[in-house]
């Protein structure tokens, strides 16, 4: 038989049983659409997180106090005391030629009050470089002055939510506030950049790092953000940071240096795996659709037994009959998956029209995988009915026994 005739014959057989074929096609379409839609959800989440991280700058290093690896040996109870990461450690980091800027961070919670209103917020102590390192900008006034970081100064920069909570619509720049038991003057307001890395940058007050340390009576830093000179210098900068701190901490390797790439890579892997898992679960629905194809094809074979007998009497070989029925299953799966993928693209387009912050994004592999799985299911589950048809005995098939 010619392949064109096989396809034509299969199509005629499918359209002859319209409702049955359409319903099966629908099942495959929904399965394919589920695979594509769910993976677009995962991919959208991945992109969202990556974008959030890139906002932090791509040659960022984060230095945390404490080691994240244990080397075995004696338990740390015996003599080994965790050392604070101090402001002096942070300033020493600037000695490395691969380091451009350093923003030490001290963090605490304290009530901020002005004109009889009070709000408990995060107080972030840092230096002038913080603005650059975090790619932030000031909406009005100015950021912390660059001066001696070790000097406490009564200046504060507030986020927009905090400013509105304390002063309403009036400009807060120049006003005085009380943070804990100390008095500060507001010198600037941050532009709203929403939520970044879990910090709500709109609802905090930023003060000089020395002021924060005095406020919380804690010389230890929460972490140090380091801006390296270029992406190539990233690894050498990390090495320098470890060396500098080790020298200052009497040979103890007691900080953890995280690169932006490491965080990005981890999130990328986690969310990538999550997307695959979700797509895999959706693919199960395609397998179910495949079983439906098998069911429909088996019904079709038993209804068309006499027809198969006739084809054999007219000289059809086993493989001709097999090809006809397999092609039917394949066409069902193929048309279904094409419809499903189109449906999914349409759905994603519609959702993205109505969503601002978060966008669904279809990874290229998703429609391919959906199509392949659907076609494979069609073939695998079409095989049994097709074999059954091709092995029918023509004499019994013709007499309808």
């Amino acid at each position: 038989m010619r392949s064109g005739d096989v396809i034509g014959g299969a199509l005629r057989a499918l359209t002859a049983h319209g409702a049955r074929s359409w319903l099966t096609l629908l099942a495959v379409a929904f399965g394919s659409a589920a695979v594509v839609l769910l993976s677009s959800l995962g991919e959208g989440a991945r992109r969202y997180v990556l974008e959030e991280f890139t906002q932090l700058g791509t040659h960022l290093l984060i230095v945390l106090p404490g080691r994240n690896e244990t080397a075995g040996g004696a338990p740390p109870l015996l003599g080994e005391t965790p050392r604070d990461l101090t402001l002096q450690d942070a300033l020493a980091m600037l000695r490395s030629v691969h380091v451009q800027q350093v923003a030490p961070i001290a963090v605490g919670q304290a009530p901020v009050s002005a004109e009889g209103r009070e709000r408990e917020v995060t107080i972030l102590g840092t230096t002038a470089d913080f603005l650059d390192v975090r790619h932030l900008s000031v909406a009005s006034g100015r950021f912390l002055p660059s001066g001696d970081p070790e000097r406490a100064m009564p200046y504060a920069v507030v986020g927009q939510t905090l400013a509105e909570a304390l002063f309403g619509n009036a400009s807060p720049v120049g006003r005085r506030v009380r943070i804990g038991d100390r008095r500060f003057r507001i010198i600037g307001v941050l532009s709203s950049s929403g939520v970044s890395m879990g910090d709500n940058l709109a609802d905090l007050a930023i003060v000089p790092v020395a002021s924060a340390q005095a406020l919380f009576d804690n010389p230890g830093l929460f972490r140090v953000l380091v801006q390296a000179r270029g992406r190539q210098g990233l690894d050498r900068a990390a090495e320098d940071l470890r060396r500098i701190v080790r020298e200052r901490h009497e040979g103890e390797d007691d900080v953890t240096v995280i690169t932006q790439d490491a965080i990005l890579g981890t999130f990328d892997r986690i969310l990538g795996a999550l997307t695959l898992a979700v797509a895999g679960i959706a693919a199960i629905s395609l397998v179910v659709a495949g079983i439906l194809i098998m069911n429909v094809m088996l019904v079709s074979v038993s209804q068309r037994t006499a027809e198969v007998g006739l084809l054999k009497a007219l000289g059809a070989r086993q493989r001709d009959v097999m090809a006809l029925f397999l092609t039917e299953a394949f066409l069902l799966a193929g048309a279904g998956t094409v419809a499903g993928v189109v449906l999914a693209y349409l759905g994603v387009w519609l959702v993205n029209m109505h969503l601002q912050a978060f966008h669904l994004s279809i990874p290229l592999w998703a429609p391919l995988a959906a199509t392949l799985v659907a076609l494979a299911a069609g073939l695998v589950f079409g095989l049994l009915p097709a074999r059954r048809a091709s092995r029918l005995d023509p004499v019994t098939a013709l007499t309808g026994r």
Binding site: M1, R2, A306, L314, R317, D320, V395
Partner: protein, 221 residues
């Protein structure tokens, strides 16, 4: 040329073994017109199925045009059916979703003949049974006699040497039956070997040769 020698065919029905054919010897020359007659259960349909290569005998030899068919693989038997044998069934066996034209075209499609060649041959076949104006009709839009004539056109479109007809007039009224028999006899006059299985004596009497069967054996020839 058909030569059957010592053909045996048994079926198991439950615990019983039924001898459908016992030691059947039969030879038919090219262009012969034979009627196989007998009561139901006499084995005449089984004989026809074996002649048509739809069924294999348990023992014996069947040579079709000098080819020993009983030992051929299924693939080769399918090819012989396609090229040398045309079937006409009592129940017509037309595919309901296909037009008369497409039903006649079916053997050519299965043989992989090019569409352009097919069209011409189907047209000739339909014309020879007088159904050219009905080519686009589906079977349910045709009368019984017309349906059987479509089936005859289908049986002859590959120009086979042998036509096997199983009770071809069994589902038809007298007038339509007459038309169908005449169409079959016309083919025989063109040189095709015609074997008709029937229990209708009027139809059997028209054949030049009558094979009388009973209980799986040939009684008279």
């Amino acid at each position: 040329m058909i030569e059957l020698a010592g053909i045996e065919r048994t079926f198991r029905v439950g615990d019983e073994v039924v001898h459908a054919l016992r030691a059947v010897d039969l030879s038919l020359a090219d262009g012969e017109y034979a009627a196989v007659m007998g009561p139901s259960g006499s084995g005449k349909s089984t004989l026809l199925n074996i002649l048509g290569l739809l069924d294999r005998p348990d023992a014996g030899s069947y040579r079709l045009d000098g080819i020993e068919t009983t030992t051929l693989p299924e693939e080769r038997r399918a090819r012989l059916r396609r090229e040398r044998i045309g079937f006409v069934f009592q129940a017509f066996h037309l595919i309901p979703r296909l037009s008369a034209f497409e039903n006649v075209e079916l053997p050519l499609v299965l043989a992989g003949v090019a569409p352009r060649v097919r069209r011409e041959r189907v047209r000739q076949s339909l014309a020879s049974v007088g159904l050219t104006p009905r080519a686009a009709h589906r079977p349910d839009q045709l009368s019984g006699g017309q349906r059987q004539r479509v089936a005859i056109a289908r049986a002859t479109v590959m120009a086979p040497g042998l036509i096997l007809a199983d009770e071809p007039t069994g589902n038809l009224d007298r007038a339509s039956g007459e038309e169908v028999v005449e169409a079959l006899e016309a083919l025989n006059r063109q040189g095709m070997t015609l074997v008709v299985v029937t229990h209708d004596p009027a139809l059997g009497d028209r054949a030049r040769r009558r094979v009388q069967m009973d209980d799986g054996a040939v009684l008279a020839d």
